[in-house]
């Protein structure tokens, strides 16, 4: 093993100890050597040896800390990454090296002219940098689109033009959350470009797993990936998703388990389990093109079906717009009716009530909305048109569901239903008084967002102190947070209703047995765009 340390990075006290050790050792062997300070023998022999000995001992100590699970467990942060990887590979556990946040940008142009975006151009938002991995050309007609890097420029309803390009983050971190509409800046593009915005919610990347994460994984590594006990199910789902995913498993005897009580006595009879998942740190809004049917020309009323496979387990309908719309809002949604849609062949979990199947892969919806943008003059009832639909949810609910209903995987005496965690979508407003250098609101927003999103299952509240703590860690003695903090949340309930919560102290997850809402089934979500920070400079501040 080659040392990853430099000779200049050693602990002075340890070098001194080893120097003394070598002196004593040599004096025992060779009493005639004068090894007092300043002597040549000490300078050219003892001291280089002491440094090398310290280097070796430090490496050996790190190896000792890394050579068994017991030692790694004592302090995972001190263990050597390569050694930990090697040990855990014996148990079929590998380190997730993280992934990059990806998404699409809409390049908005003043005029419909061919526009080049070179490879490696940096776009910045919320202190996060994103790059193009290859060069893209916005072209003015579909005839000019000859490969994937040619992007058709389309007219926007505000008189501008736009085309879309993919970008990736320059570092892998779970903190670079980008929501649809986030404005980006760059320095090296054509003057024809008037704006750059996120075309959709970005798919947030993941952090490289630490040794501590791996040790947590290890407890699962020895566990069979089967639909059995909770640790086994957790292991199986993590294997399917290839990452450690916050989850909560509700089953027989749990107050939140409603699906196993459909009998004349209304008592739990077991045989069912709900797997609540938080597969993404943030709610991800995805945009789909869905066909709608005109159902009432006089009322400009349209109806569309959001089938179960479009965005399995989505939380809510965010917006509906005509495809060319640049509006940030939505057409008026008249009604959204959720229902359960299950396949006619093969096994499907038993879902008796719609609220039991909300946020699952078996959820579908019918939406009626009023289109005040389209000219209805030449249309008749029954005509169809495509609309751009933004759905908010978290990914991979369908992936997990498909896996756990597999005949070879599923426990023959039970059914398993994968669900997205019941969402509390949080927004926060706070005021910071500071002195000296102005704090970076982007950094603070990212930090607060990450901290809130890290609160997974079995957390019954979002206390204001968590947010204050994040700010204090950043500000130190150069500022303070004005309390109370304004914290708001929307709870999207399984029955399709939405509850607004507001507090300066704590947002609570209150148990509702009728819909299975509890800290074991619900999670907080937020994103940097939902954190509002007002900075007030106070040079006289004394802390």
């Amino acid at each position: 093993m080659t040392s990853s340390r430099s000779i200049s990075s050693l602990d002075s006290a340890v070098v001194a100890q080893n120097e003394e050790f070598l002196i004593q050792w040599l004096k025992d062997e060779y009493p005639s050597m004068d090894l007092t300070v300043g002597n040549v023998l000490r300078e050219i022999m003892i001291r280089p040896a002491a440094m090398q000995h310290t280097l070796d001992q430090t490496d050996l100590e790190e190896l000792r800390r890394s050579n068994s699970l017991i030692n790694i467990n004592e302090d995972p942060s001190l263990a050597n990454d390569d050694a930990v990887d090697g040990i855990l590979s014996n148990f079929n556990i590998t380190r997730d090296t993280g992934s990059l946040t990806t998404g699409n940008l809409t390049i908005i142009l003043a005029a419909n002219v061919s526009t080049l975006v070179a490879s490696g151009v940096t776009f910045t938002a919320n202190n996060n940098n994103f790059l193009t991995e290859q060069s893209y050309t916005g072209v003015t007609s579909s005839a000019l689109v000859v490969n994937d890097t040619d992007r058709l420029i389309t007219a926007r309803d505000d008189g501008t033009y736009g085309f879309t390009i993919p970008v990736v983050a320059d570092t892998n971190t779970s903190s670079n959350v980008i929501k649809k509409g986030t404005r980006f800046t760059t320095t090296t593009l054509s003057t024809n470009i008037v704006d750059i915005v996120a075309a959709n919610d970005f798919s947030t990347g993941t952090d490289r797993e630490t040794n501590e994460d791996l040790i947590n994984k290890a407890s699962q590594g020895f566990t069979a990936s089967v639909l059995s006990g909770r640790v086994h199910i957790t292991k199986l789902v993590n294997d399917v998703l290839e990452k450690v995913t916050p989850m909560s498993i509700i089953g027989f005897g749990d107050e939140e388990m409603l699906r196993d009580q459909h009998n004349i006595f209304g008592i739990s009879q077991g045989g069912k389990a709900d797997i609540l998942l938080k597969t993404s740190a943030t709610i991800e809004t995805k945009v789909f093109t869905i066909e709608a049917t005109l159902t009432s020309k006089d009322d400009k009323l349209w109806t569309m079906s959001i089938t179960r496979d479009i965005y399995p387990g989505f939380y809510y309908l965010d917006s509906i717009n005509v495809p060319s719309s640049t509006a940030t809002g939505s057409l008026e949604i008249d009604e959204t009716t959720y229902f359960i849609s299950q396949p006619t062949t093969g096994f499907a979990p038993e879902i008796a009530e719609v609220y039991e199947g909300r946020f699952t892969a078996y959820q579908a919806a019918t939406v009626t909305f009023i289109d005040t943008v389209t000219d209805h003059t030449s249309l008749s009832n029954g005509d169809t048109a495509e609309y751009t639909v933004a759905l908010a949810g978290i990914p991979n609910i369908g992936t997990v569901q498909d896996y756990v209903v597999g005949r070879g995987v599923r426990n023959p005496v039970a059914d398993y239903l994968a669900k997205a965690a019941i969402p509390y979508e949080v927004s926060v407003s706070l005021e910071i008084h500071y002195k000296g250098e102005e704090p970076s609101t982007a950094t603070l927003k990212n930090a607060i967002s990450t901290r809130i999103n890290d609160l997974a299952f079995s957390t019954d509240r979002l206390p204001a102190s968590v947010i204050v703590d994040v700010c204090h860690n950043y500000l130190g003695d150069s500022g303070y947070v004005v309390t109370p903090i304004d914290m708001r949340a929307y709870l999207y309930k399984p029955d399709g209703t939405r509850q607004y919560l507001r507090s300066g102290n704590a947002i609570l997850i209150e148990t509702d047995d009728t819909q299975g809402i509890s800290p074991r089934t619900a999670c907080f979500y937020t994103n940097p765009e939902a954190i509002e920070i007002t900075l007030v400079e106070d040079p006289e501040l004394l802390i």
Binding site: S32, D34, V40, R47
Partner: protein, 157 residues
């Protein structure tokens, strides 16, 4: 000059000042020597004193307090008068003495290997050659002494 000619059983160090004679003035050079010589007694003291005196304080990564500031002062032209030179020398000599006596094994050394005092006897500034010669007399606890001349390169402005 008190001293001894019997060095049997003495602790030794590697000699790096080649050309040293028992008495008289002799030009020496810094080297390990063809065959490797050892030294003891006052010569060992003179050698270690010189090493510590000419080491810049802070230049040793893990032994930051060892050495003196005198070379730094000379290089930076901070010494402009005789009094300043004497002051810097005394300060440096004090640092060396502190380092020597700070070693827990120092008191176990023979009397002629322990420093009593270091005196700046004289100095000569060779403007053309670009050297400041320091003539230093080291006196051991036993009373014997060794005079050394240290040629320190300087830039004359």
């Amino acid at each position: 000059m008190a001293g001894t000619t019997d060095y049997t059983g003495r602790s030794i160090d590697l000699l790096i000042f080649q050309g040293v004679e028992e008495s008289g003035s002799q030009q020496v050079s810094m080297a390990f020597g063809d065959t490797g010589y050892i030294c003891t007694g006052i010569q060992k003291l003179a050698q270690k004193w010189t090493i510590l005196f000419l080491a810049d304080v802070g230049s040793k990564k893990y032994w930051q307090t060892e050495g003196t500031d005198i070379l730094n002062a000379i290089r930076n032209s901070n010494i402009r008068t005789s009094q300043e030179l004497i002051g810097h020398f005394n300060d440096a000599a004090f640092s060396v003495a502190e380092t020597l006596t700070g070693d827990p094994d120092y008191t176990a050394l023979e009397d002629d290997e322990r420093l009593s005092r270091a005196d700046l006897v004289n100095y000569v500034l060779d403007r053309e050659g670009g050297y400041l010669y320091l003539k230093v007399n080291l006196v051991s606890v036993s009373g014997n002494s060794r005079e050394i001349k240290l040629p320190i390169p300087v830039v004359i402005k």
